[in-house]
């Protein structure tokens, strides 16, 4: 904006002139002309400069490094995936991806600020640059990848949409759900899958739209809806927090593919690479048997891939614009994929999810990271 004294000067001259301009009109005329000129120039300058600033973007990595912390879009609270614990520290397998990226960039997994986002606002917030990446159980679809200006960099949990009902209803299959009221989070792929599924099976339903997972839980428990539908993982996570988890069951039908993974903005492939390989490093870590406990010991391994991954053989970090020990930092501070899974959602947690599809390819799952070379 032009400086305020320019404007003030301009108008004050006009104001004075009204009373005294007959005395020395020409002096004032000149003064006014100069004022107008300077006002114009400053206006043009500010407009030109501001559009130039708005047009240029530094690389995300530089922005993150300069800021000193990673801004990570997370869930508003989904136990096991992304939620603050009793001490207010964010935890979960989605959160671990953010921590892995922070460990890779800063060498310190705690340098993350979590921005809780509802499913509705998440993409807009990422697009606008308020967060550097999104890691909050978000399904990778074509239109999101292509049309929304996002780039999905991998899958950290293979999921599918399921239905949860109260056992009292006596329902054992999703095909018996005709006429039911269904609680559903707005702005999700599940919303569209649900419409498709009921349509394809010639059934009707009443949708009860809710904003967040906790609102859905409240509406479902109050009996506003018969069914709560979302990704099966989300159903398990919700159920774990109910007063009587055993009174609710997840129906056997899984009606969709929901590959959940972290995403970044289109147009900064270098940053996308860093997030992609941070996740891959966790998966490869599991493949190679490297965990948070044995990183140091593995530095002297005979396996060349282990040495490449841990930076004992230099050069790979520089390709990403990071230090060579980036992956070692991830594995020592966050752990490998298996550690993250078992700690947050595995069979020994209240959420109690089996590895299933999310086991490594060599253990019967479909988790598969490209080779590290």
């Amino acid at each position: 904006m032009p400086k305020s004294h320019d404007l003030y000067g301009f108008f004050s001259v006009l104001y004075r002139e009204r009373y005294v301009y007959t005395a020395s009109a020409y002096n004032y005329k000149e003064e006014i002309m100069t004022k107008i000129k300077s006002l114009f120039i400053s206006l043009l300058l500010t407009l030109g400069v501001s559009s130039a600033i708005a047009g240029s973007h530094g690389s995300t990595l530089d922005v993150v490094k300069e800021r000193g912390k990673l801004m990570c879009g997370s869930n508003t609270g989904l136990a096991g995936f992304g939620a603050p614990n009793d001490a207010g520290v964010w935890e979960g397998i989605d959160v671990d991806v953010c921590r892995a990226v922070a460990a890779a960039v800063f060498g310190d997994a705690s340098k993350v600020e979590y921005i809780p986002l509802t499913s509705k606002v998440r993409f807009t917030v990422l697009q606008s640059g308020e967060v550097d990446m999104l890691s909050r159980n978000t399904t990778w679809t074509l239109s999101r990848d292509v049309d929304l200006g996002l780039e999905f960099v991998g899958v950290n949990y293979y999921d599918g949409q399921g239905f949860m009902v109260n056992k009292d209803l006596g329902v054992s299959s999703a095909s018996e759900l005709d006429g039911a009221s269904v609680c559903i989070q707005v702005g999700t792929t599940t919303e569209m899958n649900l419409a498709d599924y009921f349509k394809a099976n010639g059934m009707s339903y009443e949708s009860v739209p809710v904003e967040t997972n906790s609102e859905a839980d409240a509406a479902y428990l109050a009996g506003r809806c018969d069914i709560y539908t979302t990704d099966a993982s989300g159903l398990y996570a919700s159920r774990a927090g109910y007063p009587d988890p055993s009174a609710h069951m997840v129906l056997p039908e899984i009606i969709s593919k929901e590959p959940l993974g972290p995403s970044v903005r289109h147009g900064d492939s270098e940053w996308g690479d860093i997030v992609r390989w941070s996740l891959n490093a966790m998966i490869i870590g599991e493949e190679l048997g490297i965990n948070s406990g044995n990183v140091d010991a593995m530095m002297t391994s005979n396996n060349p891939e282990v040495l490449r991954l841990l930076g004992a053989e230099p050069g790979y970090g520089a390709m990403l614009g990071l230090s060579d020990d980036w992956a070692a930092n991830i594995l020592s501070q966050v752990g490998n994929y298996s550690e993250s899974f078992e700690k947050h959602i595995g069979p020994n947690t209240p959420i109690n999810i089996q590895r299933g599809l999310n086991a490594l390819y060599k253990d019967g799952g479909i988790l598969y990271a490209p080779p590290f070379r």
Binding site: A25, I32, K120, G179, A180, S181, V210, E211
Partner: protein, 389 residues
Amino acid sequence: MQTSLIRKIIFDEKSRSLLVQTLVIGLFAVFIYLIVQQTAYNLEKRGISSGFDFLNMSAGYDISIRLIPFTSEDTHLRAYFVGLLNTLLIAICGCFLATILGFLVGIIRLSTNWLFRNIAYVYVEFTRNVPVLLQIILYYSILLHLPKTKQAIPIFENFFLSNRGLFSPSPIFKDGFSIVAWSFVLAIVFTFFLKKSLKKKQEVSGKQYPIFLINSAIIIFTPIFVYYIMGRPLDFELPVLKGFNFKGGMVIKPEFIGMLLGLSIYTAAFISETVRSGIISVSKGQREASQALGLKSNLVMRLIVIPQALRVIIPPLTSQYLNLTKNSSLGIAIGYADLVHGFGGISLNQTGRAIEIMLMVMLTYLTISLTISVFMNIYNKSVQFKGNA
């Protein structure tokens, strides 16, 4: 020559102000142009699609609160209209209820009865000092704790109240019902003229007729009479508990009831204050003079006080209507499928066209608000003092 032109522009007050105004408008236009350019450039640079082509794509989601048929295969444009109608529905019902409640409370606050007066006082101070969003959520939560569908409370046998809404019989119109409807319209038109002629007679003869009673009787009994002559061309479909929910009949969803209660109870508090100030603004002398002329107290109110109070009431009442309409966008908090929730929320999320959709939604609210203003201004003119005074 040139100097004199410059001189004229700068020192002649009229031309100078014209110049400044043109400059300001020009700069504003440049400003807007730059913003639009910059936005389009940034969107393109980030690989985000833009444009309004998404309006013809199928929405892919369902809306359960709707006035016109809608399925997931319909377009986003139709979702827009579904949302718009829901917004208008809550706005109209809300304004209607808020006005009635507001007038009642406003009059009660001036009552001589200590208890009534103070109950109204507490109501006004409580509701207008608590954010409307909290009130909406409160009413909605209460509604959610009504009995579940299977234990629904029956009312008059065929109505059922549960936490999924109020289920009621829905009318089925058979052949000949349109004649009943027309007889109703005709009765209203007829009473309008009857009222005029009876008033004339009253002015000539001085004899008073119970116009209100006669007209109400005509409006109520004509359609009923025709209804029986036509052989009762109306059936009801009753709601029946089947499976998970009631089937058949109509349902008023708790989301709608929650919104309606929240908005109208909140706005009514403001309206009641407006009404109270309007009534107080009519000077005591007016009332005393009309009583001295022997008018009964309800006539004093209807003929003397209210018409004069309306002049004070209407302008702030308009802004209360506007507030209520805009507050209806809070429906998003409890899942009432209004314009902001459906089109402005779900469609936005599915298509990512934030700027286009928000512009459409904002322009829509602007249009609704301006329309309300126009009509209220016309009404306001009609109640103001006539003549040159």
